[in-house]
């Protein structure tokens, strides 16, 4: 429409420039103009990295919640509904704890249990990881063993304690066996579901880029499945820790050392609630500590790097 009088703006442009390009005459320029345009658009469209300092709310809120719970506990005890030896107050438990610490009992129990839990868990990881990868990649094997492994996850691993005692007697092997049976289904299942959730596009990209089977498994499938795998590890650890406590409570004596579960059982035998409460709180405390110091940071870093953390309430 060159004769249309309304398009005055277009007509003020020099003829050569307006005819330089068909779709985007104003965008089409020399190379450096294109570069600047892109740089401008990039800056407008992408988030400039927001710096996050220490979030005090994350630290203060849980601490405050803890203080409130302890105060409520103390308040309940001071009403004296129950005998003091049945429901001891926070201070009684603390006194007992300090005494046991002085005797070295606490350190021994925590160290024994933690050491067993960690070693048992690591053995599980070393065995479960290749098994999980193979099951996830080979369809017939997975059909065959998948239901069994899901079933094992439902079976409480305490159920293995009697069998383990008959097979291994009152030795550390019993404890490791129970921990192993507790952790392994969770880790395998976590890895399998991690592999299942890989967008099919990633494999197509791998094929197009020319990856062979091994490269596909190690450089594409495994890193892509990492969030699910870490989730499985976390759950596996939780099951390890629980199974360990159950095993330690049930199997006492022989060459089995003195762990947190044993401490708990000792408290029961002595009918001393302060020992029982100290042991329960210690078991809980170790669990929280492992989550906060090991799994929490790993998971957070992993998700953050993949941009999966935005908007979550972690």
């Amino acid at each position: 429409m060159p004769s249309n009088p309304i398009t005055t703006e277009e007509r003020t442009l020099p003829v050569t420039e307006s005819k330089e390009h068909i779709t985007s005459p104003s965008l089409k320029g020399n190379a450096s103009e294109l570069r600047d345009l892109e740089a401008g658009l990039d800056n407008l469209q992408s988030d400039s990295g927001r710096k996050v300092g220490i979030e005090w709310k994350r630290v203060l809120l849980p601490v405050a919640a803890l203080v409130v719970l302890i105060l409520a506990w103390q308040f309940y005890v001071s009403l004296e509904f129950k005998r003091r030896d049945l429901v001891p107050g926070p201070l009684d438990v603390l006194t007992q704890f300090v005494t046991m610490w002085g005797e070295g009992k606490v350190q021994e129990a925590v160290w024994t249990s933690l050491q067993r839990g960690v070693i048992g868990f690591l053995i599980s990881v070393v065995i479960a990881t290749p098994v999980g990868l193979i099951l996830a990649q080979v369809a017939p094997l997975r059909r065959a063993f998948g239901p069994l492994i899901s079933g094992l996850q439902v079976l409480p691993s305490v159920a293995w304690v009697p069998a383990a005692i008959i097979w291994f007697g009152l030795t550390d092997a019993t404890v490791y066996f129970v921990v192993f049976m507790g952790a392994i289904p969770s880790i395998i299942n976590g890895l399998i579901s991690g592999v299942d959730q890989i967008p099919p596009q990633y494999r197509s990209v791998g094929t197009v880029l020319g990856a062979n089977r091994l490269q596909m498994a190690l450089q594409i499938v495994l890193p892509a499945a990492l969030p699910g795998y870490i989730g499985g590890l976390k759950q596996g650890w939780a099951f390890s820790w629980r199974s360990l406590m159950a095993a330690e409570i049930i199997a006492v004596g022989g060459t089995i050392g003195f762990g947190l579960g044993s401490l708990l059982d000792q408290g029961r035998l002595l009918s001393d609630m302060t020992i029982v409460m100290s042991a329960i709180l210690l078991i809980l405390f170790v669990g929280i500590l492992i989550e906060l110091l090991v799994f929490g940071p790993i998971e957070k870093r992993l998700l953050q790097r993949r941009g999966l953390l935005a908007g979550s309430s972690r």
């Binding site: 390009h21 005459p25 740089a39 992408s46 990633y202």
Partner: protein, 243 residues
């Protein structure tokens, strides 16, 4: 080396054929836009050319080293940085390359798509347009003569898409690749292609083709005319399926 498709057909299972008797020849260094409505088998055709799927009939001649491929979504690996994604492609393309040489080549490619400063960013930190440019750099890293593009700009906003059209044209001229560009956008096809092939729907078949000449590139009126002609033909093709 040209790309030749001869009586190419594809059906999934025992269903109706998705592609039937597709014939086309694409010269080396040519930029061809493959146009069609949704569900006409454009992507299937591209997947066959990329070796991701096998044709059920007909013959296909593609360069022996295969083709580079660019998907509609950038499909960058989120656990790698922009640079890491490109370096992985370089590593998989040439197993004997050294780490230093890959790093240098990745820098060159990032520079080529004007992302020199964003190499250490992760995909989620980049905008959609930047991600597609990294994906373009990654497909160039494969160093194949043939580059297949499956609606790579369809999910982008109009401003970014216009810009990437200029960018792609520049890179095509600089690298001399053969490009097959699948789109359902007639303006995009006319804007980019030297030749526009129209694929019919169910079964997919090349039913018409137009040359986009230098005249169309410099004269907006002529380009608009061609866009109109192609759009009418495309709509005709879609209307056929009304009954």
């Amino acid at each position: 080396m040209p790309v030749v498709l001869e009586n190419l057909g594809k059906r999934f299972g025992s269903g109706a054929p998705v592609l039937d008797d597709v014939n086309a020849t694409i010269k080396q260094g040519e930029f061809v836009a493959l146009l069609g409505a949704s569900g006409c088998g454009k992507s299937t055709l591209l997947n066959i050319m990329a070796g991701l799927e096998r044709p059920t009939s007909g013959a296909l001649e593609v360069p022996s080293d295969g083709a580079a491929f660019m998907f509609q979504d950038a499909s960058l690996f989120p656990w790698l940085t922009a640079r890491g994604n490109i370096e992985l492609a370089l590593q998989l393309a040439d197993k004997s390359s050294t780490k230093a040489s890959r790093r240098e080549r990745a820098s060159e490619l990032l520079e080529l798509v004007h992302l020199g400063g964003a190499g250490d960013k992760r995909p989620h930190e980049l905008s959609g347009g930047m991600r597609q440019r990294v994906a373009l750099a990654r497909s160039l890293a494969q160093n194949r003569q043939l580059l297949l593009m499956d609606e790579p700009f369809a999910a982008l906003d109009a401003i970014t898409r216009d810009l990437l059209h200029d960018e792609l044209e520049r890179i095509w001229k600089e690298t001399g690749r053969t490009i097959v560009f699948v789109t359902h956008n007639v303006r995009e096809a006319v804007r980019l292609g030297q030749r526009v092939l129209l694929l019919s729907s169910r079964p997919g078949r090349v039913v018409a083709e137009w040359d986009v000449t230098e005249e169309h590139r410099t004269d907006a009126g002529r380009a608009g005319e061609l866009t109109g002609v192609i759009t009418r033909r495309l709509r005709e093709e879609i209307r056929r399926h009304a009954k």
